[in-house]
Amino acid sequence: MNSPSVTPSHAPPAASWWSRHQLRIVPWLFLAPALLMFVVYVIAPIFESIAISFYEWDGLSPRTFIGLANYKELMTDPDFHISLKNNVIWFFGFLLSIPMGLGLALLLNQKVFGIRMAKSLFFFPFVISQVVIGLVFSWFYDPSNGLLLHVMDLFGMDPIAVLSDEDLVTYGIVVAGLYPQTAYCMILYLTGLNNLRPDLIEAARLEGAKGWTMLFKIVLPQLRPATFIAVVVTIIGSLRSFDMISIMTQGGPYGQSKVLAYYMYEKALSEYGYRMGYGSAIATVLFLLMLVYIIFILYRVYKQEQETE
């Protein structure tokens, strides 16, 4: 890295200390407020949480150090296993939003009358709060009168109460989560498709490439940046899933739709008790899972930085 550029030589000598050091001090002056806030509210709490996970603590009385006991308990905690299993379902289920978003984008990447409006309307679910989406989908699944029930009735099938079915509940919520997430991936791909290199496409067309061959050999490689972002936001989103579960089932029935993010909240703050230490242990596990992706992202950003240097 280069040192900062030289101070202008005609700076008044009276201010020499300041002008000599200006370029070193100024960046820190500008950074200070953001860095302070971010360290206090984001960076420090991560370490604090990890520390709390080694304690038994109800949030009020003094903490008791119990070493790894919380983690040992996690290993045999059936609710923790359910949450982990559901996180896996969320992970793979949520990834479907990437091909679905790509499909929608391919459908909408046209120049016909009204297509701009159509794109906006397809994107619409992403703008709306997940609370509202969650409410809508719980009505959709409603066992006494939901739309799903009517549709199944139409096809002569026996109705299923998805949200009170232990085996189906998580899939039902994932479908609701896919709704806004697909819209997000769609918009990423639409932007990517908009920036395809026309010369490459035309050249491939002249050589007779079309349809799937064109998509996989020519188009998808050019969409890699969009795919990267789509994968990142989708994986992070799947591990962050909380809102929909809280709105649609509150982890039920019988705790079968919990994920780590929800289980942690339930253990630490809900009416089931204030087990801060145990909650922190769950949060730490979730954090370590996420850390894999964070390192992956940072590594990529680092490589980009090296290229632009």
Binding site: M37, F38, V42, V112, A226
Partner: protein
Amino acid sequence: MFPTPIDRTARSTQLLFRIGLPVALFVWLLPILAVALTSVRGGADLSNGNYWGLPTEWKLWENYTAVFSNTPLFTYILNSFLVTIPTVIGALTLACMAGFALGIYRFKLNLLVFFLFVGGNFVPFQILMIPVRDLSLNLGLYDTITGLVLFHVAFQTGFCTFFMRNFIRDLPRELIEAARVEGASEFDIFFKVVLPLVRPAVAALSVLVFTFIWNDYFWATVLIQGNHAMPVTGGLKSLNGMWVAQWHLVSAGSIVAAMPPVLIFFLMQKHFIAGLTFGATKG
């Protein structure tokens, strides 16, 4: 252009596209249309099980006035604005400054600080929950709008700084060098050279952060307890619990709650999408 423009395809494909697109759009928006319709239904429709057909009576005015007069919805909405607007201003102010520092100056810890902001941006909320709640309690800011705003500002600063720094770094360096040669102080460079140029980034981030914060549910439930400070997302959840069978009223509330981000999206669509797809075309 890929796929092939539709007017260069076979007639049958064109026909399929022109019919298929509106149908697909209708199915896609069905859940939202259902809420909109339910929000104007009378109670009778719901007790007769008419949830998805056309309303038999239109109660637009009645439902929307009922939801405002019988519930704290107005307070919730007001709280959401009181949380969202200061957060947007705060996070953007901090991010413009930090982005300027990281985008213009080269110093040893530059990349490390930048990575701190980028990485911190992706952590799960749960790892922050207990300490942040504790901190707010100790500062006397638990269950207050200020407490919620402070956290949101801090967290959003991560993402905004990431965005701003990359935006500022791509500005032509000659402009800054030229200003220095002219004798401009570093503060002049920030206020007179860089700030006017980052307006598009500020616009994109403002609409994004507005939407994120307006729709935040997790922190509203963790840091707020009472209706006096509850944003509309948390408020809707308690309305839903209160009115188990009164879906027409909950729907009306949902529509009202969804309005501000929806309006912002349609009015500032270009900026919104520019922010959201930032980085989707290069890399």
